[in-house]
């Protein structure tokens, strides 16, 4: 099927429904991001998603779209609860991979002289790398069940965390309806020792400085100001999430056949939301999502301890607070407006972030006027952004992009990086890198990623979310 891609606005491209597509595709991208046919392969995936039963509105792709499988990475798709399906491929293997951002009252001049100490302390406190595990936090079956049902709340009830209310976390750091029983014993085994660990690949823990503010009232509400230090954690549900995804892809392959769903791509396998298979997946996926919320909470706690113990700065001095915590691989039931009507939908975001507009009742009071913080990590050598949700995101089921998006395969990146000493290069730009593996570092060089400023520019231009602040890395911990 030859795909027609029509430009309908400065940052909008439409795929008119054709063939088996039930709705149009809608791709947000700038001219630059769409050039050289970069948009065509992901567009094909958008078209495939558009053919799934019960899909509502548009099959959506964000400017950081890149080739994934089944659903593209950087995709949003919402389904009617009665007619529609839920699909593990629309969430991804790393369930609730997401970002937690902590603001401080520390200034860069106070922290820079001690950045090596801080990087060292964080590197020691937060296990990172392939197969990273914590031996000090081996959970019993019962305790693991609590993590899986309570999420971030489990951690904060035990005194782990930064001391904020859960209201500054998406879904308050816990998805109701998690069913730990739906997890296989192997899933539990994989997760048990990994709570509180960073993982590897594109996961990171970064100490950053706010180097530009674009929206002063929003930055103020979020505790961000030029020169202030911020710490950002990017991680997910570790091996527990991967196992849930794989287990349920198997289930859904059978379910798609059973319910007569035609699959242009096996990785789009799915089941009706209300079916036993659909409900089992949701229960398991929510449990994995809660594991990830607890995971980020535990790592945030380690950040606090590093500041207080190794650096000797008491709470009154560091003033650590949670800016927000966002999911970018998730599916959940949300109430969204479609063609003027409010509907409950199963919204899938794979490599996309919720972006609630100002006034949304789900926002905590502190953000009611400015919109939901949208945390957008860039690559380790450049910058990251904080945005705030805008009214225009309604068209995209209140969603925005999630990051820079890769533009080079891992092996191409390693080749391009060659024998370069990436650690020294970053050091000469004032960035301390502490990484457990050299190979991952090569795969994560800046050139492997799109420029997140372009992605954010397109999102801002399209009215989905507005830029609030830009952050520059000072120290990067990678696995």
């Amino acid at each position: 099927m030859q795909l027609r891609i029509e430009r309908i606005g400065r940052y909008r491209w439409r795929l008119p429904a054709a063939g088996s597509m039930r709705v149009d595709g809608l791709i947000y991208a700038s001219e630059d991001l769409a050039q050289g046919g970069a948009i065509e392969e992901p567009a094909r995936q958008v078209a495939n998603v558009a053919s799934l039963p019960g899909i509502v509105g548009h099959a959506i792709a964000m400017p950081d779209i890149h080739w994934g499988y089944g659903f593209p990475i950087g995709g949003v798709a919402a389904f009617d609860l009665d007619e529609g399906v839920v699909s593990p491929g629309g969430v991804g293997y790393d369930i609730n991979c997401g970002v937690r951002m902590l603001a401080t009252q520390l200034e860069v001049d106070q922290v820079s002289p001690r950045i090596q100490d801080l990087a060292e302390a964080l590197y020691r406190r937060v296990p990172a790398g392939l197969g990273s595990a914590r031996s000090d936090l081996k959970l019993s079956e019962k305790e693991l069940d609590r993590v899986l049902t309570e999420g971030a709340g489990w951690a904060s009830a035990r005194g782990y965390g930064v001391g904020d209310d859960q209201e500054r976390l998406e879904e308050h750091g816990c998805l109701e309806g998690a069913v730990p029983d739906h997890l296989s014993p192997r899933t539990r085994e994989r997760g048990r020792g990994q709570l509180g660990t960073l993982g590897s690949g594109n996961h990171f823990l970064e100490v950053q400085v706010v180097d530009e503010v674009f929206d002063a009232p929003a930055a103020d509400a979020m505790g961000l100001a030029t020169g202030r230090i911020v710490v950002t954690i990017h991680s997910g549900s570790r091996g527990l999430g991967y196992q849930v995804c794989d287990d349920f892809l198997k289930v859904m392959l059978g379910a798609a056949r059973k319910y007569g769903v035609e699959l242009p791509d096996r990785q789009l396998c799915c089941a009706p939301i209300g079916s036993p298979e659909g409900q089992r997946y949701l229960g398991a996926m929510y449990a994995a999502a809660n594991f990830a919320f607890a995971n980020r909470q535990l790592m945030a706690h380690q950040v606090r301890l590093a500041l207080e113990e190794e650096l000797g700065w008491p709470p009154g001095r560091h003033g650590l607070s949670t800016v927000y915590d966002v999911c970018h691989n998730i599916a959940k039931i949300e109430r969204r407006r479609v063609e003027g009507q409010e509907r409950e939908l199963c919204v899938h975001r794979k490599g996309a972030t919720r972006a609630l507009a100002p006034g949304d009742p789900e926002l905590p009071p502190v953000y009611r006027d400015v919109g939901q913080p949208v945390l957008i990590p860039g690559d380790m050598g450049r910058y990251s952004f904080v945005l705030a949700g805008r009214a225009g995101s309604e068209e995209a089921f209140c969603s925005s992009c999630h990051g820079a998006g890769r533009q080079m395969s891992r092996s191409a990146a390693r080749k391009a990086a060659g024998k370069r000493d990436v650690t020294s290069e970053l050091a000469s730009s004032g960035i301390i890198l502490r990484a457990t593996g050299r190979r991952t570092v090569l795969e994560e060089v800046s050139e492997a990623y799109k420029d997140v400023a372009d992605v954010v520019g397109a999102v801002d231009g399209a009215g989905l979310a507005g830029r609030v602040a830009r952050l520059r890395p000072l120290a990067v911990i990678k696995g």
């Binding site: 499988y69 197969g131 198997k250």
Partner: protein
């Protein structure tokens, strides 16, 4: 049939992930070589794994040969991740369109001698291929890394 140590295979370049391409004269060897390629990707030096230390048997089922390949690789990833065992020897003892039995040889992961190089989250169903032609068997699978 048994496959021990690094097999011959090609890696496919994909933006976010890694593809494995393998050829073999038989379906059994194809499945063995895919497993060996998986561990070659996962470990910095899979030949440092003592294949005689531990033996493990598995049975895997799926609805067709292609999804069987994914199930096989994910079973290996699951065992490695949950039991901390790594393998360098693979013997397919039975292979039907929808069922595979195999024996693996390896040992517990030892950080002093073994090093993980790539975290493989799972084998995916994307661009999946297991097919026979007049020259033998071809397999293609994309790993989420």
């Amino acid at each position: 049939m048994t496959t021990t140590g690094r097999p011959v295979y090609r890696q496919l370049d994909h933006t976010a992930d890694l593809g494995l391409l393998v050829r073999a004269p038989s379906a059994e060897l194809l499945f063995e070589r895919m497993a060996a390629a998986l561990f070659d990707v996962m470990l910095a030096d899979m030949e440092a794994v003592d294949s005689a230390a531990r033996s493990r048997d598995v049975v895997v089922e799926a609805s067709d040969r292609e999804t069987l390949l994914v199930a096989w690789l994910n079973e290996l990833i699951g065992i490695a991740a949950s039991e901390e065992l790594v393998f360098s020897r693979f013997e397919v003892t039975g292979l039907a369109v929808d069922r595979l039995s195999a024996r693996m040889g390896g040992e517990p992961f030892d950080p002093a001698r073994h090093r993980y190089e790539t975290e493989v989250k799972a084998a995916t169903y994307h661009y999946l291929l297991v097919s026979e032609d007049e020259d033998g068997w071809s397999g293609r699978v994309i790993l989420d890394v």
